[in-house]
Amino acid sequence: MDIVNQLQRQYVDFLSSLYREGLLDDQFLQIQKLQDESNPEFVNEVVTLFFEDSEKLLHNLAVSLYVDQQNVDYQKVDACVHQFKGSSSSIGAQRVRNICASFRTCYDAKNLEGCLRCLQQLKDEYYLVKNKLQTLFRLEQQIVAAGGVIPIMG
């Protein structure tokens, strides 16, 4: 029981740190609330989907911006970033979403340098939040494995 408590506390602390650092926002809470008996793996599924999509998008962005720097297809960049923005805001990855917004100003201005910088930031933030979310899920699994219930925040 002790270990469950400890894990639960750890989970709560960790999750609230994610909120505190602005990595996640209320939307993540919404997602969590959508998970119920009929859909017990909902959060995990959504987030996994997010990872898959994001990595594809990051790859596409990198291709668009690095392969032919003379003729960057900004429309494609726009499509990718827009999608990235939509998916990140859907799961509440706040910081990723914010970078998408500034990314947009860069490609609107056809500022390649800015775009590259934004892409780098986007990667950084994405992998950061991915890392954190994976940690979070691991914690969840541990809690479940220890026979505990995942605490509900908010």
């Binding site: 939307q27 919404q30 997602i31 609330k33 959508l34 119920d36 009929s38 859909n39 909902f42 599924e45 959504v46 989907l49 997010f50 999509d53 499509a79 827009h82 999608q83 923005k85 939509g86 998916s87 805001s89 859907s90 799961i91 509440g92 917004a101």
Partner: protein, 1026 residues
């Protein structure tokens, strides 16, 4: 000064000119009077022609002054001193010259001696080789101190040059001759020196007249003074200690000398300012301190002029003031300019203030705009979801519930109502405060308003209280005002009164007052409350007034359904018009007949109760926002504390005033007076339908002799019997199995206590109950869905009454009523809309209601109290390309109980609409292949034209399978109705909402989608399925 003189005496001697003899230090302060030294004949003033001296002088006085006044004597002594000094200087110079001459003489003598000695030396040459040393060589040095010029005169020692050989006779002869010459020359010089001396002495004598010199200097100074003052607007004068003029200089004299000298100001001229200046001078004279003052003269002599006057006292040597020096300068122009400047400055200040004011009002306007926006936001953001909650709870309340659930639900509903009320209150308040509140002027009948307010209150009454209303005869039948607001005020005050009254009665009294000030007449609450049981005198009504009564165009609005109008019957009445009712004593005075032709009438309204009253100390803050009489009150009675604040603001907005008087534990009277316009065309024609308006015919039959009580309503508590509560306007009643019923209109007869005592002469039953047993469904649905907040005509009371005895049927209708209420609730957020709907003017609403009614009839036929569940689920289409968003949205929809169909881009969306009938579409804007805006445009185009040409043109290919073509055809017929399309946008702000609307979208929700967003949308657009 002396030493200065000494130092440059040589200079002066060179010039042989005396410096100005004008005292250089005429008074202690320093040189104030600097005069140019008159150079050789270039007197500047020579060319200037001075006018005749404008000064008038009393010379005797001048002498007196110079003799006796300190200043005069000091000036004189200065002059003398300076003259003496100059003389001394001259003497000294002469003496020096004499010295030098005598020295020359000595020298010459010495020379002589020397020559003689030389001779002796010649003789002694042989005898001794001694050479004599002239001691005087050193002495000569002193000559160096003698002015150089003197040196010219000095005879140089010249060695006689003798060519002849020394020692010869010739030599000596020559030498003698030479010496002789030298001697002669010396003599000659001596002679010249003597002459010069003589001349100097003579000169001295010639110059030695100090008076002459002084007067010359003085004249020069005088000339300068005149020159300077020639055109100056200056008056200079001296007045003695009786303030008689002794001297005056005025360049523009208007009076002759004899008219001024020896007279005082007052004696010379009169007019404004003269006395003041005289007093001022006297003051200076007395205080002995110089002073300046600006005085405006208003004299016949020189008109209106402002002078700056400087007055200084003149002291005698003994220190007594012996007069004043006075100097005045005409500063009229300056004063005028100054005043103009001040005026200008003032204007500028005013301008600036105006500017600030304008800025402020601009600011306020901006604030108001913002407030408006906030109001809109609030009403939308708070009220609509809340309305949803409350509506749902209402529906829930009609379903089968056990007792506990019902209880919980009732708490939920009342809390919901409270929050709604609070929001409405806040909105009202902020509307009033931000000036957004607009008053409407509509014709209304005060009697009806009072009656309906009481009815409404009675209907939801949960206490044993008597509600009564009295309207005096002089109150016009119809007045013009904002009836909604007036009802709001009345309802608020009445519900307040009821809240704080546990037994006794609560009432409204309306009467005309003549003057808004008169309403302040002290009222004695004691009278009111102690007399409450006494039967009021018979209400009497003027014949004129009688005939005017009729229901308020019931037939028009409500298909002739009766509304429990108090019928007015013509019949006899007491001659006494000002019939005192319970507190008639206090109102008698106010009840003057008001001239009927007046266009504005002040009506006073008292809302009285026999409740707990208000402690005196709470009275001052009673009308403050969020203020209740005390913390206990708030705990015990609840409420927002805004009601009275709103009432007060509303009353004041309408130009009236709201006051309160109260005695603790006895009751309170809230009084408001308001001006109303009286419609000039007094609609006094008898309404033919009026008789049909009668309800409660039993009562009418019993009491028909008493129809005069048109101006009096009474709602007495009923302690038994079935209630109308089932369909009552208040939800609480619905939930309450056995509420108190009120006889309401049935017992509307004013004086039930002793009704029998009324003459029953007019027995003919003129009241006919026209109430059908059942109201048509439409009628029921017409009723306002929000009884608490609705102040309008409330026919449900009547319906209630009429159907009161038929419970079975009634219940069904009740359900119907509820449903329709909810429906209207959902479809409109604004109270105004609600109002409109209650009037059923809006065909759309009608349209919306019809199916509901239909559905509910089904239910009634099943005789089930269950709320009809929405059997058909809405078909929802989500157009979204991002998988995650789809997933989230789907999950959320699922939680809300909806299944969705998902397509991934605009083209697919168009195809989906093409093949299936959806009830709502959620559309992402930004998608590959085709965006949401374009897809929306295509769909709208189809709805308008009935064909998909635009879509086909845009490149959308439709499957032409047989099944599809079938649905397509069906659609063609069925679904030309507009599908609600909701945009889902990632940045609600930057992606312009206009664009969404322009493309034909109905609304938009911002991403990320949340449960609340979705729910709200469903409430708004899928109300039919909820």
């Amino acid at each position: 000064m002396d030493c200065e003189m000494e130092n440059d005496h040589s200079e002066e001697m060179d010039l042989e000119v005396l410096s100005s003899m004008w005292p250089e230090d005429i008074n202690e302060e320093g040189k104030l009077f600097n005069l140019e030294k008159p150079g050789a004949d270039h007197d500047m003033l020579e060319g200037v022609k001075l006018k005749e001296e404008p000064a008038a002088v009393d010379f005797n006085r001048l002498v007196d002054l110079t003799t006796y006044s300190e200043k005069g004597s000091s000036q004189l002594s200065n002059l003398v001193k300076s003259w003496e000094y100059k003389q001394a200087n001259a003497v000294r110079m002469l003496r020096e010259e004499l010295d030098s001459l005598s020295k020359q003489q000595k020298k010459v003598e010495l020379k002589k001696l020397e020559m003689i000695e030389e001779h002796r030396f010649e003789e002694h040459k042989y005898g001794g080789n001694k050479r004599p040393v002239s001691v005087l060589d050193e002495v000569y040095d002193i000559w160096q101190e003698v002015p150089r010029r003197r040196n010219d005169v000095v005879v140089h020692d010249q060695r006689p040059e003798v060519e002849a050989e020394y020692g010869t006779v010739i030599f000596w002869k020559q030498r003698a001759i030479h010496l002789q010459k030298l001697l002669e020359a010396s003599m000659q010089r001596e002679q010249i020196a003597l002459e010069k001396l003589q001349e100097s002495i003579q000169n001295l004598e010639r110059q030695s007249s100090p008076v002459e010199e002084l007067s010359q200097v003085l004249r020069r100074a005088d000339n300068y003074l005149h020159f300077v003052l020639q055109n100056a607007p200056v008056v200079i004068g001296h007045q003695d200690n009786e303030l008689r003029y002794r001297f005056i200089y005025n360049h523009f004299p208007t009076l002759g000398e004899q008219e001024i000298i020896g007279k005082t100001d007052l004696e010379i001229f009169g007019g404004g300012g003269v006395k003041e200046s005289q007093d001022f001078k006297r003051e200076v004279l007395e205080r002995g301190v110089a002073a300046k003052r600006e005085i405006t003269f208003e004299t016949e002599l020189f008109g209106s002029k402002t002078f700056l006057i400087y007055v200084e006292p003149v002291f005698s040597k003994a220190g007594e003031t012996i007069g004043v020096n006075y100097m005045g300068m005409d500063v009229t122009d300056q004063v005028r300019k100054r005043e103009k400047m001040a005026q200008l400055r003032e204007e500028i200040a005013v301008q600036k203030a105006k500017e600030t004011e304008l800025n402020k009002s601009i600011h306020i306007t901006e604030e108001t705009m913002r407030a408006k926006q906030m109001l809109a936001t609030m009403s939308h953001e708070i009220r609509s979801p809340l309305a949803g909650v409350v509506s749902m709870a209402e529906i829930l309340s009609t379903s089968k519930l056990d007792k506990e659930q019902r209880q919980l639900l009732s708490v939920m509903l009342s809390s919901g109502d409270l929050v709604l009320q609070l929001i409405n209150d806040i909105l009202d308040l902020s509307k009033v405060e931000s000036g957004v509140m607009r008053l409407e002027a509509t014709k209304f009948r005060p009697r009806e308003v009072v009656k309906h307010v009481l009815q409404t209150a009675a209907a939801s009454l949960q206490k044993i209280l008597t509600l009564e209303g009295q309207i005096t005869d002089d109150v016009p039948v119809e007045v013009i005002g904002d009836v909604l607001r007036i009802r709001q005020i009345l309802t608020n005050l009445i519900s307040n009164a009821i809240k704080f009254t546990h037994e006794g009665k609560v009432g409204i009294k309306l009467y005309v007052i003549q003057d808004p000030c008169a309403c302040k007449q002290g009222e004695s609450p004691n009278v009111t409350y102690t007399d409450e049981q006494t039967a009021p005198a018979k209400g009497s009504i003027d014949h004129n007034v009688l005939s005017t009564s009729k229901s308020r165009s019931n037939q028009k609005d409500y298909n002739g359904k009766s509304h429990g109008e108090v019928p007015c019957q013509n019949h006899g009445h007491n001659d006494e018009t000002g019939n005192p009712l319970q507190n008639g004593a206090s109102t008698n005075g106010d009840r003057e007949e008001y001239p009927p032709h007046e266009t504005t009438v002040w009506i006073r309204c008292d809302v009285y109760d026999t409740g707990i009253g208000i402690p005196e100390k709470a009275l001052p803050t009673l009308f403050n926002k969020y203020m209740q009489a005390g913390a206990d009150t708030a705990r015990k009675y609840g409420g927002t504390g805004l009601g009275l604040a709103i009432c007060k603001q509303l009353v004041e907005l309408m130009g009236g005033q709201l006051t309160v008087s109260s005695i603790e534990h006895h009751g309170s009277i809230f009084t408001f007076i308001l001006p109303y316009k009286v419609s000039t065309i007094c609609d006094s024609s008898d309404d033919p339908d009026e008789l049909r308006d009668m309800i409660g015919h039993d009562a009418a039959n019993d009491m028909n002799d008493d129809d005069t009580n048109y101006g009096f309503f009474k709602f007495e508590p009923r302690t038994l019997g079935p209630i109308f509560s089932a369909s009552g306007p208040g939800r609480s009643q619905m939930l309450r199995p056995n509420g108190f019923g009120l006889s309401a209109i049935n017992t509307r007869i004013g004086y039930p206590q002793d009704s029998s005592s009324f003459p029953s002469g007019n027995n003919t039953p003129k009241e006919i109950c026209l109430i059908e047993d059942a109201c048509s469904e439409v009628d029921v649905t017409e009723t306002s869905p929000e009884p608490e907040s609705s102040l309008m005509h409330s026919p449900e009371c009547n319906n209630k009454i009429s159907i009161g005895k038929e419970h079975a049927k009634h219940d069904d209708e009740n359900i119907q009523l509820k449903i329709s209420s909810i429906n209207t609730c959902n479809s409109s957020q604004r109270p105004k809309d609600v109002l409109d709907m209650t009037k059923i003017r809006d065909p759309q609403v009608m349209h919306q209601m019809q199916p509901m009614s239909g559905r509910s009839s089904e239910c009634t036929s099943n005789d089930s109290r269950d709320i009809p569940k929405a059997k058909s689920k809405p078909k929802i289409l989500l157009v979204e390309d991002t998988r995650i968003n789809v997933m989230v949205a789907r999950s959320m929809m699922k939680q809300l109980g909806h299944e969705i169909v998902v397509v991934n881009n605009g083209v697919e969306a168009v195809r989906a609409i093409h093949s299936t009938n959806y009830d709502i579409v959620f559309m992402d804007l930004y998608m590959p292949v085709m965006g949401g805006l374009e897809a929306t445009r295509l769909i709208r185009s189809f709805e308008e034209t009935g064909n998909w040409e635009a879509a086909i043109k845009a490149g959308v290919e439709f499957d032409v399978s047989p099944s599809n073509s079938f649905t397509n055809g069906q659609e063609y017929k069925l679904s030309r109705k507009r599908i609600p399309i909701i945009a889902m946008t990632a940045n609600a702000l930057s992606e312009s909402a206009d664009e969404c609307y322009a493309s034909g979208m109905d609304s938009f929700i911002s991403k990320p989608v949340t449960l609340n967003n979705l729910r709200q949308c469903f409430e708004q657009y899928l109300a039919a399925f909820l």
